[in-house]
């Protein structure tokens, strides 16, 4: 019998992407919550290269890297809720936007959340984040979801960051709702889907968690 296990962490945006995909496909799975300061032998065995979550273990075989896992899920459980489009050009376009967010969002988030930044650096990071979100908003346009009428690959990739917006706003001292209202509206629309609402943590809980981490790491 096929066995699906996820090495997970509740506040991790990449892990949320996988949980959303699993929920969209109606896949039953076992979840193992990792302590990232004390990684399990299983995690180290299944992802020796990066030693990071999420890791999906399917029939004992590991798949690593969140969007690679999502694509794997989409290919294996292809009978329901397709996440990638069937047209090759549209698929390339979806992959492009996922690559964009993954390339760009890391540095400003690190600056805002994981460093003791000066006001100037925080402002610069906040501006970078707004710039990224505005580009995403332009790509979304008037469509309900990034790929059109249905929730798909790009939405899965981006929506976990929606639960962290409150954290970014508080730490960066800016308002995303003011700067990117369409993106906020899209996030709220996604939250109407059970796969998303059951996966994304409460934004205030996430904020408290990040504050606690910063305190423990001695970041002001």
């Amino acid at each position: 019998m096929a066995q699906v296990k996820l090495l997970d962490f509740w506040a991790s945006a990449p892990a949320m992407r996988v949980r959303i995909a699993l929920a969209e496909k109606g896949i039953e799975y076992e979840t193992q919550e990792e302590d990232l300061r004390n990684k399990s032998p299983l995690l180290l065995e299944m992802n020796p290269v990066h030693k990071k979550i999420p890791v999906l273990i399917h029939d004992g075989k590991p798949i690593c890297e969140s969007m690679i896992i999502v694509e794997y899920i989409d290919e294996v459980w292809s009978d329901k809720s397709p996440l990638l489009p069937s047209d090759a050009h549209e698929r390339a376009r979806a992959r492009f936007w996922v690559d964009f967010i993954d390339k760009k969002i890391g540095d400003p988030i690190r600056q805002l959340v994981w460093t003791s930044s000066s006001t100037e650096n925080k402002e610069a990071a906040a501006n970078d984040l707004i710039e990224i979100f505005k580009v995403m908003e332009a790509e979304l346009g008037d469509k309900p979801y990034f790929q059109g009428e249905s929730f798909g690959f790009v939405d899965v990739a981006v929506v976990p960051f929606y639960s962290c917006l409150y954290t970014y706003e508080k730490l960066g001292n800016f308002s995303i709702a003011k700067e990117c209202p369409k993106l906020v509206a899209w996030g709220k629309k996604c939250l109407q889907k059970e796969s998303v609402s059951k996966t994304l943590p409460d934004p205030y809980k996430a904020y408290e968690f990040f504050l606690d981490c910063r305190k423990k790491l001695g970041i002001e």
Partner: protein, 219 residues
């Protein structure tokens, strides 16, 4: 427009090389347009407004950007010949993982090696060798990363074979000493016409890097 394929190209770019190899593997006729990155064409700016970078594949007027995304597109559209990704989903995920590893590590760390000095350069050298050793372990005793045939991961990595001379000269290291299997694999790949026709001469890459260093003001 039957099947118009245009590549916004740059001969010394390892990313553009990936696309050229894929196009040759599939036997696709295309027009290559060499870009001058100090004076980007209006076509490039229009077709890739987000990153304004090469390579860009323009197929029947529609752009596809990002080298490995272009390679996947080529593999999906021209699926009659020389499959680059395996058909099994687990093996596909495995191939994507290693292409992603190469993208995250080789170019950025390599760049730090040739573009910086002192401690950063030394730690980059150490990291780069470590990454190549990890790739060597993944290759194992297989002829190619994909197994018996040249595939997605081989294609992702092989353009960096042209950089070995640069890494050795500027990093003061010996690839043959550190990663003999990888050098052997590179030489095997070069036996393929699609690779030998595409890969830049190692000396030419070195000269291009020296030029970039000069422009950056790095000795």
């Amino acid at each position: 427009m039957a099947n118009e394929v245009v590549l916004l190209d740059l001969k010394v770019s390892p990313f553009a090389a990936r696309v050229r190899i894929a196009l040759e593997e599939k036997g696709i006729k295309y027009e290559s347009r060499e870009e001058d990155l100090s004076n980007k064409s209006s076509v490039l700016l229009k077709m890739n407004p987000v990153h304004q970078q090469i390579p860009v594949l323009i197929h029947n007027g529609r752009p596809i950007c990002e080298s490995m995304i272009i390679v996947q597109y080529i593999d999906e559209v021209w699926n009659h010949k020389s499959p680059l990704l395996p058909s099994d989903p687990y093996r596909r995920a495995h191939a994507r993982f290693w292409a992603d590893y190469i993208d995250k590590k080789i170019y950025p760390i390599g760049r730090n090696l040739w573009a910086s000095k002192g401690e950063i350069k030394e730690s980059s050298k150490k990291d780069l060798i470590e990454c190549f050793k990890i790739l060597e372990r993944e290759l194992g005793d297989k002829p190619y990363f994909g197994g018996e045939t040249f595939g997605y991961v081989d294609l992702a990595l092989v353009p960096f074979y042209s950089f070995f001379y640069t890494f050795e000269t500027l990093g003061n290291l010996s690839m043959v000493a550190e990663c003999p299997k990888l050098v052997e694999w590179g030489e095997k790949c070069l036996e393929k016409e699609s690779v030998s026709n595409t890969l830049s001469d190692q000396q030419k890459v070195y000269e291009a890097i020296l030029q970039i260093k000069k422009e950056l003001g790095v000795e």
